[in-house]
Each structure stands twice: as C-alpha cells, then as structure tokens.
C-alpha cells in the first residue's frame, strides 16, 4: 500500500516535471510554430539566476518565482528582437539558429560561472511514507505545475489576452483582425515563453547540481512532450506529459531509470510517426 503511494507520487512528480519544463516551449510552439532549441538553456539560465540571487541573499522563493522568470524573460526578449523575428515562417532555419543560440549560451555561462556544479539546498524537508523517504520539495514542484497550468488555462479561456493568444495560434491574420500588431504579439509571446522556461529552471534549481550543460537533458524531454502534444498548449502538453511521465516511471520502477527514459523516447517516436499533428491534432481537436 505504501509502495503504491510512492509509485503514484513519483508518477505525479514526473508528470509535473515534464509539464513544467515544457510549458515555455509549448507556448512558443503552440502560438508561433517556433521550435526554440535553446529552450533547455533558458531553463538552465533560470536555474543560475535563482542560485546566483539566492547566494546573494535573496529569499529562495523570490529568487525562483520572481527573479528567474524576469531575468530569463529579458533574455528571451533580446533573443526575439535580435534573432528570432527575422526567421518567422522558416522553421528549419529557426531550429538551426536557436541551436546556435544554445551553444552560445552554454559558452557564455561557462565563461561567467565556470564548469563546476553550483547548487542550492531544497527549502522544504523530506517526509516519510511507511518505510520510504520522500522528497518534500517534489510536492512543491507538483503544486507549482498545477497552479501554472490552471493559470494558463484560465487566462487562455477567459481573458482578452488569452483570446488574442488563441487567435495568434490561427495565424497572423487573425491577430490583425482582432486589432493587434502580430509582430508585437509574437514578441510578447516569445518573452513570456522564455519567462516560463526561466520559472521552470528556477523551481528545479534546488534539485540537482547545476552545470552549463544541463540544458541538454531538459530540451530533449521538453521537445518530445511538446511536439507530440501538438498545437493545444494546455491539453496537448498535459496529455503527453501524463503519458510520458507514467510510462517513464512505470518502466523505471520495473527495471532501471535509463530503460525508463529510453522507453519514453521510443514511445515518442511511435507517437510522432502515428500522429504527426500531435495528440491534439488527432484527439481533443478544439481544445486550448
């Protein structure tokens, strides 16, 4: 019974983790069809921003929930103005340029922070379920993920900004028809997506030692979660995060974490092959 609870909690955590690291990429991909391969580095920057400000004395929650998104949002704005906005509509070129950006950011961070891992302790202590020691901080992550997605869904569904955002998903013409400049909307979207990535990075910072290269681990999983999810930002990402998180953890429990990860990647390929439009392209067609 305890074991079941542990398994369920681990699955829940994995789903939340995937959903969190995918949120920024999902917004940018869902609304602008831009594949930002530097997304993992945005998450990494969020982590560094959090750790740096925490070490400078700022409260850890402020650092991760406020500073990280703001800093990375600013970086995203810069990137959009200098690079991405010249490449709209050119998907492959965007992928290439953002891949270059990811290398650039890794180089930059290595230059500033060096190549040794930095870390910050988790602010929430662990707890016990039966014989098992659980990380308390994981629950916080789940909570943040839930709040974030509920927030996104509410904004998309019930606010004017959300309406414009959903219009943007249909194309620049719809945005113009709604009376807004598509260029500005895209700029804001990319910035917001970057901020979300920074938030994820900030929240995840206390979990492991941070290196300039951790982006690589995030991008892969976020990537497949978002692409297989399809255009629906909330529904798509949550469904695939749910699917992958469950498969990953179940297989991990059955054998090893590596096999779990590989199982998840294989599942991604199968899904991509069977549903090129993503899960929300096939099912949940008109969802957000």
């Amino acid at each position: 019974m305890d074991y079941l609870a542990v398994v369920l909690l681990e699955i829940l955590y994995m789903i939340a983790f995937l959903a969190l690291i995918s949120a920024g990429l999902a917004v940018v991909f869902g609304m602008m069809r831009v594949i930002n391969l530097a997304h993992g580095e945005f998450v990494m920057l969020g982590g560094y921003a959090t750790i740096a400000s925490s070490k400078a004395g700022i409260n850890i929650y402020v650092a991760m929930l406020l500073i990280a998104p703001i800093v990375v949002g600013a970086v995203g704005l810069l990137v959009e103005r200098l690079i991405v906005r010249f490449l709209y509509g050119r998907m492959i070129d965007t992928m290439l340029a953002t891949w270059g950006l990811s290398l650039l950011l890794i180089g930059l961070v290595t230059l500033i922070f060096g190549n040794t891992a930095v870390s910050v302790p988790a602010p929430i202590p662990g707890y016990q379920i039966g014989r098992y020691q659980m990380g308390g901080y994981n629950l916080f992550i789940v909570a943040v993920a839930i709040l974030l997605y509920v927030g996104m869904w509410v904004v998309l569904r019930y606010t004017r900004a959300g309406l414009i955002a959903r219009g943007a998903m249909l194309g620049a013409d719809t945005v113009s028809a709604l009376g807004h400049n598509p260029r500005i909307i895209y700029m804001l979207t990319f910035t917001f997506g970057a901020a979300l990535s920074g938030l994820a990075g900030g929240v995840l910072a206390p979990l492991t030692g941070l290196l300039p290269s951790v982006g690589g681990a995030y991008i892969a999983k976020a990537f497949i979660t978002v692409i297989t999810g399809g255009a629906g930002i909330v529904a798509g990402t949550l469904s695939t995060a749910g699917l992958f998180g469950t498969v990953n953890q179940l297989v991990s429990f059955a054998s090893t974490p590596v096999v779990g990860e590989i199982a998840m990647l294989l599942l991604a390929i199968v899904l991509l092959r069977l549903m090129p439009q993503g899960v929300t392209g096939r099912f949940f067609r008109n969802s957000t």
Binding site: I92, A97, G100, L103, G107, I224, I227, I269, L272
Partner: protein
Amino acid sequence: MTGSGFGVGRIRWNWFVAFALVLLLLPLLSEVNTPTLLAIWALFALSLGLMWGYAGILSFGHAAYFGLGAYTYAIASFNIGESTAPLLLAILIPMIFAAIIGAMMFYGRVSDVYVGVITLVVTLILNRFMNATAGDAYRIGNARLGGFNGIPAFPILNVPGDPNEQIYGTPYYYVVIACLLGSYLLARVILSSAFGRALIGIRENELRMELLGYNVQGLKTAIFAICGGLAGLSGALFANWAEIVTPSVFSLGQSAEVIIWVIVGGVGTLVGPMIGAVLLDTLKIVLGMQTSIDNSLILGAILILVVLLIPRGFAPAFVAWRRRLAQLQAYRRHARGTTRRRLHVKEAEQ
C-alpha cells in the same frame, strides 16, 4: 543531359588531381595526426552534405550513424580479430539502421520538421543507452560496452589478411584519404546518374516527382541509407584514429557540429561541407589551445550569423559572387568596346 546541369556541374578533373596530389604529398611537409582527423570530419560532413544539399533531407541526428560505425567497428574487431570484416560491418550496420529509420519516416510521410525531431530523438536514445552500459553485464561477445567510459584498446586496422600488420601513422593517413576521395567520387557518380537527378527533383518538388511516377519514399530511404553508411565509415575511421570509442560519438554536440560545418561550408555543394569541416575544426583546435574564449560560444555565434546572413552557407554565396563578378567584367569589356568603336567612328568622321 547527364554530364552537367541540375546545378551539379562537371567534375573539374585538373582541380581534383591537383588536390589529390597535395593530399598525397602532405606527409612530407607536416605531421599526419591532425590532417587525418580533419579528413575524417570532411568525410562525415560530406555524408550529410550529400543528403541535405541534393535530396533536401536534413537530419538533426546524423551523429547516430557516425557513432554506430565507430561502435560497430570496435565491437566487431574485438570479436573477429581481423579488421577487414569489422570495417565492412561498420558501413553496413549504420546503413541498415538508417534504412529502417528512413523507411519509417519517409513512408510515413513525416514532414521536414519532424524528420529533424525524430532523427534527433534517435541519437538521444543511442546516447542514453550507451552511457548506461557500464558493467560486465553489458557486452557483445568479447567486447564490454563500457558505459560512459566507452570501449578502449580494440584492435585497429590491419593489412587485410594479416592481423599482425597494423596500419597507423602515415599509412593510415593514406587509407583515410583514399576513403575520402573515393567517397567524393562516389557522391559525384550518384549525382550524375538518373538516381541523383531524381533526388534533386525530389528536393525541388516532391509532389511533382510522385506525379511523374517516381517512388519518392524509396529514393529518399535509399539516399538516407547510403549517407548513413558513409557516416558509419567515417565513424569507424575515427575509432581507429582515436583508439577509443565513447558515447560522445552520439552526442547532440556532434550532430550540431556537422550541421554547422555543412551550413557554413555551403549547402548545395559537395566541396563546401568538406571545406567547412576542415576550417571549423581547425578553428576549434586553435581555440582549444587557449582558455579565454569558449569554443561553444564561437561555434554558436557562427551558426547564428550564418543562418541570419548567409542561409545557404559560404560556398553557394561565393559561387554567386563569382558569377556576378564575371557578369560585371563582361559588361565592362562590352562597354569599353563600344566606347572604342564610337571613338573610331568619331575619328573617321573628322
């Protein structure tokens, strides 16, 4: 029609021979260790450039086949003891793997972007898998896979038939050069053939090629497999050069680097990718000798700049520039000629 045209151009034999001679005489002037590595990268770049520039297939995970070639060689040479069969396997296995992945993607009519995504994920899977194979349990025959430490000290290339006559140093350099030049010629042959022309047609307009009755999916799978085999060859040659294979051969970094070489050197030419590989890797080696500027930073900046400013890379831009220069010179000559004629007429009139 099969000689030139289709944007391929005739092979300039005098350049080719001259260049081959330079390569052959190089050992007299310098050490061969670095040139060997550069030639291996050039071959790897060629394998991607052929597919990308002429068939329009961009793989974001071409390192998968490079790595498979390297690992296949290492594992096979441990188990077989003589190097000829392992080298052939190192070409064949990546080729088969590429054929399977390619067939799955192309017969599934996956779009360009998703080809990028799927090829990326395949490389990731191989990377993760190989990284986790530490411990005695993971072995293929005599070869322990070694996890992130990789497989060291496998038997390197030997003269076919004589396992004790190992090939390294300058003779090995010649082997690599032979493979490089041979692959280049193979690529040329492909591009001049109906198969190659069909690939170019597919790059231009897939739908139209289908409507003309071409088995587009089969052709794309075929070139994907061939380029996978060439990448595997370069991987096996790398394994022999490095004398160790580690999971970094499957890294995203490796896939990124080869894309950068091809795009900087020029998508749409055969020579461009090779030049790009040599130049950029030389730059990386030079940068690696100092610590103030990080290598990733430079490569990343270069990739961004190239995509923004010269999307098809330097070689086609250079070709276009040369063409424009030639037109300008021809115009100037024509203008001079008319002025002279006018002066003559004026003189005659006076």
